[in-house]
């Protein structure tokens, strides 16, 4: 996406220079910068590294014993046995396990940071049911100490989402979990934006209690449909402008609308839907809603009742991001089953993800996945560690549209790597070392690699 900016500038300049030679006088073409807050992320200092003789969960369903993982210049070079060590920092992985970096598709770190004081409550613009115009990245406090604790739990990538009070909560942003004093310094280069939507109880409660729409679930649906209808018109207006301009005419550009830019981004396929939605009947309608307005209904978050529609999710290419066992806090979270993720996962072409939505459990997504695997195996499933790791790595990457870049330990992908002291699905498991793009960002036994936020510095 970062390439768009210079090429568009060129186009605008060339139009300005050549415009006078054309038969119809054209004004400079109006274009929209899709990446106005670009990533400034830089890989931390790194060196060629080899982890030897570990149990490796590749993240693509494979498990390799006594295996080496070699990475250099930010990428996985090779995964195999007896790899050459020349010039590499050697890490002993015997008795240890290696997995891809953990990815959380649903976090509010930075936007609802610690300490959770009023001045920090920047995660939900609860002023209108449609706030597609807000971007979570504009609320991120990079000094949230939660980024450090999540890193100690092996989290290398995370999507920060706005809250769920609104039908359209605004854009989410995907970050690399590296310390930085700016949001842009953490921003995952070329990761697509997400759009947070929310079904069910939250929007109708928040706005209904103010005697505003929506006050019911049918009001929720009406709100989405009206917004998509408007976005469809907006998209059409821009397409007409671009077609007319390309035809040498001098049309007037549509009036820029920041809210509709985001919805249009979804209709254009640039922005992925991340939909807070618990219940089977609501997810089924949200899938149809996407078909009605020609966009993909994306990932369902929380999806407490995903297990009731596992077939439908897979058929329609929807990921579902779920907790293992949270429930009972609302009516729409009443029908929890501990095997939800496993049931969703069991269908062909499924995309089951384990998410946290919590500054606490993000630190142990490995354990969250483990609980699901074991409860499912108690009840007739035959899941292995190499299956469960997919829920917090490659499937999560798929949900975020970055599975071509990270989420599995295959050659050429980012060297986002966690070295665990034992089987990561044990309650006693801890991340010993964490790497982002091949650079060590955390070491449990070396304070030099334990970052501390500005906020915690000097607190006695």
């Amino acid at each position: 996406m970062h390439k768009i900016v210079p090429s568009l500038v060129m186009a605008a300049v060339s139009v300005a220079l050549t415009g006078c030679m054309k038969s119809e006088q054209q004004d400079a073409k109006v274009t929209i910068n899709k990446n106005p807050y670009p990533s400034t992320y830089q890989v931390l200092p790194s060196q060629k590294t080899i982890i030897q003789n570990a149990t490796v969960l590749v993240g693509n369903g494979e498990r390799l014993e006594n295996t080496d993982v070699l990475f250099m210049d930010g990428k996985i070079v090779q995964v195999g046995q007896g790899l050459p060590t020349d010039g590499a920092t050697v890490v002993d992985g015997s008795e240890k396990w290696v997995t891809p970096g953990v990815i959380d598709v649903h976090s509010h770190l930075g936007v609802y940071p610690s300490p959770s004081v009023e001045s920090h409550a920047d995660g939900n613009e609860m002023t209108s049911p449609n706030t597609s115009e807000v971007w979570a990245e504009h609320s991120v406090w990079p000094q949230d100490p939660g980024f450090q604790t999540a890193r100690a739990g092996g989290v290398t990538t995370l999507q920060l989402l706005p809250g769920s009070a609104n039908l359209f909560g605004g854009r989410g942003v995907t970050l690399k979990n590296v310390p930085s004093h700016t949001m842009q310094g953490m921003k995952f280069p070329e990761a697509p934006y997400g759009l947070k939507m929310a079904c069910g109880e939250n929007p109708k409660r928040v706005y209904g209690s103010r005697k505003e729409a929506p006050g019911t679930r049918m009001g929720n649906m009406a709100g989405y449909r009206m917004a998509w209808a408007e976005a469809t018109e907006y998209k059409r207006a821009w397409e007409k402008y671009e077609a007319d301009y390309a035809a040498g005419k001098n049309p007037q550009a549509p009036t820029r609308d920041i809210e509709l830019d985001t919805l249009k981004g979804v209709l254009d396929g640039d922005i992925l839907i991340h939909n807070h939605c618990y219940k089977a009947e609501e997810m089924a309608m949200m899938i149809d809603l996407g078909k009605e307005f020609n966009y993909h209904s994306g990932t369902f978050h929380h999806a407490i009742e995903g297990y009731k529609i596992a077939d439908m999710l897979a058929e329609n290419g929807n990921c579902a991001a779920m907790w293992p066992d949270w429930w009972g806090f609302k009516m729409e979270a009443y029908d929890m089953v501990e095997e939800n993720v496993a049931i969703v996962d069991a269908v062909k072409n499924s995309c089951a993800v384990v998410h946290s939505d919590s500054g606490t459990t993000i630190q142990r997504l490995n354990q969250e996945a483990g609980k699901i695997m074991y409860r499912a195996n108690d009840n007739g499933f035959d899941l292995k560690e190499e299956d469960a790791i997919v829920w917090i790595t490659s499937n999560a990457a798929k949900s975020l549209g970055i599975d071509d870049k990270t989420g599995s330990l295959v050659k050429g992908k980012a060297a986002d790597v966690v070295l665990w002291n034992t089987n990561p699905f044990s309650v006693y498991a801890q991340a010993d070392q964490v790497f982002v793009d091949g650079a060590k960002v955390y070491d449990r036994y070396d304070e030099k690699y334990q970052a501390q936020s500005d906020f915690m510095l000097g607190q006695e």
Partner: protein, 411 residues
């Protein structure tokens, strides 16, 4: 039910009318006693009439025998400071009974306890046999009093009401934390003076003492524990000073920054009820939370009780939070005691230990109870075998069973 052997089903059925008529011997178990006896390998535990009657007797004479095949047997875990049986769905106001705006020091939420809450069978599956349930919320700094309930789901689950007094201190969104500390101190001081005056006047007429004053007097007499929710170290020191001054039976709850003053807490012999998973600086009162704190406090000689932070529905996860405390440095036996013997000691319960004479609240595990892969295989409350199936299991089975008919027909 499907998990039970036929003999156990018979036992469970018999138990409904003539409770605990049959004696049971569990043989060949790895028994974590949660007492100074430590861990007993290949041990036999005999239970009869709801209590543990023998450990490793010379000869076993029981109506039923279960071979544990070397598996782990522990006391039933005791959850604490939750709202089990007082809430069905947290966001549904009409299903919540743990708090009342007008609740005061006399508030007894046990009257509202619902043993049929769907949270209880799930909690039981987590190896929890009893809970110390605490009121929360309301305008007063006193939230009311705790009660003890077993997790059998029976209508006679409430075992003891009007237990410890719960008081909330510390950071205020409006006003100063000093006010509540001062009020508590003044209340205790006034009550002490009134008692002294009554003694001097030789008044022995207790009928004149108001209900709330009776509770304060019980605190002054050390008959009732005072559970103080405090986080900041200065607040902890303030209530320790009150304990010293008034002879309180003090228990600290939350105690986020207790690690800063753990020597003082240990010296005062005050137990701490805490979450083992709290490690984010949620407020300026809790800048020193850390996953290692439960272990550190325990090593400092403090009696630690581990609870599940947050929503009551998550209480079933208690054993995993204890496992995480061990992963972060807590001694294994101390960790086990934090959800068994320590809770029993602090709240005066007759369970929490595998010891002759204690209530037969026990759990047979497939392996290490704190490990994610382990499950509770069998569980007894007061000697009665319990069903280890929850509503969640029924939902799972409904949606994983093949049928041509709508799911609604699968029951």
């Amino acid at each position: 039910m499907k998990l039970f052997k036929s003999s156990l089903i018979a036992l469970a059925l018999a138990g409904t009318t003539a409770a605990n008529a049959a004696s049971l011997a569990i043989t060949n178990a790895k028994v974590h006693t949660a007492t100074s006896a430590g861990v007993l390998e290949n041990a036999t535990v005999v239970i009869d009439n709801g209590v543990i009657t023998a450990i490793n007797p010379e000869s076993v004479a029981a109506d039923q025998t279960i071979d544990a095949q070397g598996k782990v047997l522990t006391p039933g875990f005791i959850a604490s400071m939750n709202q089990l049986g007082l809430v069905e769905v947290s966001a549904v106001a009409s299903s919540r009974d743990a708090s009342d705006k007008k609740a005061d020091i006399t508030f007894d939420a046990s009257l509202a306890f619902n043993p049929k809450s769907t949270a209880i069978p799930l909690t039981r599956k987590g190896g929890i046999t009893r809970s110390v349930v605490a009121p929360r919320g309301g305008d007063d700094m006193f939230k009311g009093q705790t009660f003890v309930a077993d997790m059998s789901g029976d209508f006679d689950s409430v075992m003891a009401a009007n237990g410890a007094v719960v008081v909330e201190l510390g950071a205020e969104s409006k006003g100063s934390r000093a006010m509540a500390l001062q009020k508590l101190s003044n209340k205790l001081e006034d009550a002490e003076k009134a008692l002294a005056k009554a003694k001097k006047d030789d008044k022995d007429d207790k009928k004149d003492v108001k209900r709330d004053a009776q509770v304060i007097n019980a605190l002054l007499a050390g008959e009732k524990p005072l559970i103080a929710h405090v986080d900041r170290a200065t607040d902890i020191l303030a209530v320790l000073a009150m304990k010293e001054r008034f002879g309180l039976n003090l228990v600290l709850a939350g105690a986020a920054d207790s690690v800063l003053v753990m020597d003082e807490i240990a010296k005062a012999n005050v137990p701490v009820v805490m979450s083992a998973m709290r490690n984010l600086p949620g407020s300026f009162d809790s800048l020193h939370t850390n996953l290692a704190n439960a272990g550190k406090l325990s090593k400092a000689g403090i009696k630690v009780i581990i609870t599940v932070d947050g929503d009551t529905h998550n209480t079933h996860l208690l054993r995993f939070t204890v496992g995480n405390a061990v992963a972060n440095g807590m001694d294994y036996d101390a960790a086990l005691a934090s959800v068994t013997a320590n809770v029993a000691d602090v709240f005066g319960l007759d369970s929490g230990k595998i010891e002759v004479g204690k209530a037969a609240d026990i759990v047979l595990w497939s392996a290490d109870p704190f490990e994610l892969s382990t499950k509770a295989k069998q569980l007894w409350i007061s000697g009665e075998a319990q069903v280890l199936e929850s509503r969640q299991d029924k939902l799972r089975d409904r949606y994983t069973t093949d049928s041509d008919m709508p799911r609604a027909y699968i029951k």
